[in-house]
Symmetry: C2
Subunit: 307 residues, 2 copies
């Protein structure tokens, strides 16, 4: 039974509202999402930024700031460092980007003293609830890591596993994707896909089932898998995690889904960090921003379990 975003929000409500530190919070779209997340019991926010501007925007969108902690810091870089420190010290369960540009936001995430490094590289995961597809789909990496090496792909997988578990998928099936489902030395990505599969079989990557290379139809469409006679494979249209060859393939598929599939829901976070990081973009809808906060909240709970 697929757990959609409504179920994720119900799960947050069960384990208790989380706390999110917002970096440079004077941003209308971000404050709207933050207010909605509070209303739905997903997260309370600590707003770090220019307090006067935060109050001005809140008034203009009729957002009641009662019960919000506000830390006044008009300097953007300083605000981001103060906000990320709250997450670093465990005073916030997740960290969210506000008006600050992505480059400086990421600098705060990676700050050696107050940031959220865990040792390995960061990666991005986008969770999709797509009408007609049985399982939630976890797409990675569609936004952050550009040309992952084999080693990077192992990190991406390990970054994504707790996200899948947080969404109720205990032992996710992972499809390293390519244009074809057979190994072809002229297509390096298919060779790497096979290597990941072998590492999984050898017990070097655990907590998941890897089967690649796979074409997208065999990964997500059980009918296509049957039709193509893929009955011997570990994945037959029931992949949970879709591992992309590179950022172009990932990002183009991600945007095709968002802009072409009616009724789709999604939420995205950065992983590989001490706490989940919410890095929504201008072009994300209000609903996607709220879904991303719900996703971050259940992942925060999952990461605490393993602490």
């Amino acid at each position: 039974m697929k757990k959609g975003f409504d179920e994720l929000i119900a799960k947050v409500n069960e384990c208790g509202t989380k706390k999110v530190a917002v970096s440079v919070a004077q941003d209308e779209a971000v404050l709207e999402a933050v207010a909605e997340a509070k209303k739905r019991g997903i997260a309370d926010a600590i707003l770090v930024g220019d307090e006067a501007k935060i109050r001005e925007i809140a008034a203009s969108i009729e957002m009641d700031l009662t019960g919000y902690e506000i830390i006044d810091e008009p300097d953007m870089i300083q605000a981001s460092l103060k906000a990320v420190k709250l997450a670093h010290e465990g005073k916030a369960d997740m960290y969210m980007k506000g008006l600050i540009d992505t480059k400086n936001f990421l600098k705060s995430v990676l700050d050696k003293e107050v940031g959220l490094r865990t040792g390995g590289p960061l990666s991005h995961v986008c969770v999709f609830d797509i009408p007609g597809i049985e399982q939630l789909l976890f797409l990675t990496d569609v936004a952050f890591m550009t040309y992952p090496t084999l080693e990077d792909k192992v990190h991406i997988i390990n970054n994504t596993l707790p996200v899948a578990r947080a969404c109720g998928v205990e032992c996710p099936k992972i499809a390293p994707l390519a244009a074809v489902e057979v190994v072809n030395p002229k297509m390096p990505v298919t060779v790497e896909a096979e290597q990941l599969t072998q590492m999984n079989e050898a017990g070097d990557i655990t907590g998941c089932i890897i089967d690649g290379p796979l074409s997208l139809d065999l990964a997500i469409d059980p009918e296509a898998a049957k039709h193509k006679g893929a009955t011997g494979r570990k994945i037959q249209g029931d992949a949970d995690i879709l591992l992309f060859p590179d950022i172009h393939a990932g990002n183009l598929v991600y945007k095709a889904i968002v802009h072409m599939v009616p009724g789709v829901k999604n939420g995205c976070i950065l992983t590989g960090t001490k706490v989940p990081v919410i890095l929504t973009s201008r072009s994300d809808t209000f609903e996607t921003k709220v879904n991303s906060m719900a996703l971050a909240a259940v992942v925060a709970e999952e990461l605490k379990k393993n602490d």
Copy 2:
């Protein structure tokens, strides 16, 4: 006003039914599509292959073979060479794959004596009619050319232009796609996208408008283009031809659309050949096979114009 596949079929009916040479025609799914194409006035077929088997399959699917030319040639390689020669000599307007495997089928297409070479490399184009998107989308290359160089991309564009014109798009807008819409030297595909744009501006690639690199949202979603402030660009959500970085990105997007978007229609052909080549796959639906024949028929008419 978007011309969908129904309009393409109407256009074939206007300019007269075409003739298709079918290579190794003893294939049930192919014969079903061929019969439907005849019924709709798209094309009459010359069936080259094992006549006994063709008659047996036709009987089993209640296909009336009256009015079909059948050339009996039980040997598959010989059948493919006889079939392609019909197209080579102008006795057929298009060439279609039957039971023969892709490798040997392509050998017949590329045969130096009786094949369909024109000098440049071949490429594949898939035409999509997607609910909610104003224009037809021409995706290339999602199935044939693996890692196109800059020079290959120029060929792909020139192969695709007559296909767009055949579908009523006189001066198509071409989006060389990437994960981002800005040039980044660390992402070679964005550099090549800019070079294609400059070649178009310099008059080295004509009959189209090229604007890249582009992310998919800016290429196909006018709202997203407006929201992201792309008002100065030549393409603002109204791209016709989507040029992919490589086969993985192209094929994954192609399959995402086919397997996730309800109500989508598509047809695909090989181009860069003397006449259009129909290379449908087992997993294509009946409707897609018929659409591919309709597409090939209008492209055949367009190529004749330029002869």
